[in-house]
């Protein structure tokens, strides 16, 4: 088993027009993450605020992240899986996918 970082891009969930749809979307997320926890694949995860700072190579600080819209990192997960393909298979269940978010899956390097 190896750990993988799942980078979730695409900050907004367009198309969620009503409180009811938002609540249903939330329930889908809870169900998905709940299943990953129950199966032992879930290690960690956080959602990120859309605003932030960027430190450039010349050490100046800008008051926004570099990426915007679909490229913006919205959150991340750390999953435990046999290999990248298995981690990608787990990631396919992400309820954000139908709303245009993309998931980048990267193995976390280990010392041994």
């Amino acid at each position: 088993m190896q750990e993988f970082l799942v980078i979730i891009r695409g900050g907004k969930d367009p198309g969620l027009g009503s409180p009811q749809e938002m609540q249903e979307h939330l329930q889908h997320w809870q169900q998905w993450l709940g299943e990953l926890m129950a199966s032992g694949n879930y290690v960690a995860g956080q959602n990120l605020e859309p605003q932030g700072l960027t430190v450039l190579s010349n050490a100046t600080v800008t008051d926004r992240p570099l990426a915007e819209g679909k490229e913006l990192v919205a959150g991340y997960l750390v999953l435990r899986a046999d290999n990248a393909a298995a981690a990608a298979e787990l990631a396919k269940g992400c309820p954000g996918l139908p709303f245009g978010c993309t998931l980048e899956i990267r193995g976390i390097r280990q010392l041994h």
Partner: protein, 419 residues
Amino acid sequence: MTASQNIDQAVNHLFRQASGKMVAVLVKIFGTENYALAEDVVQDALLSGLETWKFNGIPNNPEAWLFRVARNKAIDIIRRRKHQSDVDFSNPDQLPPSAEDTLEQHWQDENIKDDFLGMMFACCHPDISPENQVTFILKSLCGFSTREVARAFLTSEDTISKRLYRTKAFFRASRIRPHIPPPAQLSGRLDAVLNSLYLLFNEGYSATQHEQLIREDIIAQAIYLCQCLLDHAHTRQPRAAALMALFSFHAARIHSRLHIDGTIIPLSQQDRQQWDKNLIATGNEWLNKAAVGTALSPFHLEAAIAYEHCIAPNYAATNWKMILSYYDALLQLTKDPVILLNRSVAMLEYAGAKAALQSLEALEGHRQLNRYYLYHAVLGEIYKRMGEKEKAVACFEQARLLTAAQQEQEFLAAKIADT
């Protein structure tokens, strides 16, 4: 699963209910003329909740969490707009710009309840048409999107948008302040609100081509709003309790009214085992609570009729005599021809086809009823019982021409085949 469980579940809509309450409080803060601003803040607060709770789970008191976010956003807006004129701070009901702290008290439970009912009364202002009233109630207090309202009313989003627009324009022009009317005006204004909820409930209850889920959703909303009225000392009036009793008795029967394929099952053939005993008991409690004071409202009588149907062990054992007396009392209160029509059905069962036909004579040539499919369907049933097959079929045919609902057409086709 019983109807009451379904309805409990449908009511358990955290986002929707929080949305309705937040809209009410924010409209109080910003004024009805800034309704759109209130909606934006609510949308923002709900999105914050969604994004935060996705990964972290829902906190213990999610509603308080959402209210805190909405309150902070409202404070931001007030700070930014202090020097603009679009929020009228000369209105004593609204917030003085210097006193952000008093914003806190807007979000106390008791105030939220007042504001919620205040908004309900604002939506049912006598200058707003009944259909616009129910539309705006669903949008503002029940958290329905335009698309969801359109589905509920079987109409286009465009139509709903226009209705909402008219109400918003009315709010902007008249600067209605949402509040529970003072005692001198309460009675008439409460009637308007109750009638609006009655309309909303009927929209969900009438067996047109609605999907079951939407129907139950609308019914649950009407019950929820009526409960809010009954939870408040000023609006906890006997006729509100009577309306709740009526809702409960009708809702108890909802699952026995349609076959799985959606065709209508008449009352005489419904499986009474399927009727929800808990909801009937709830209706009973409300009917008892409604029986105080001297005022007898149409809701009391309609609830009493529904009660008689609910307690009859079978169709034949229905106490038609009692039901007839309630219809007579209803006709004393209102000269509604539809009530006279419904009364004739009770008459048919109690005194036979001839008496029923006589009771309908007063309606002959009534222009509005002539276009109402049920009038012809009832006439058909009466003629059928008299053995006048040709007349019966002609009436059923006429009824079939007058309804657009497929379920009703199929029901009538079966009647014709059976005559």
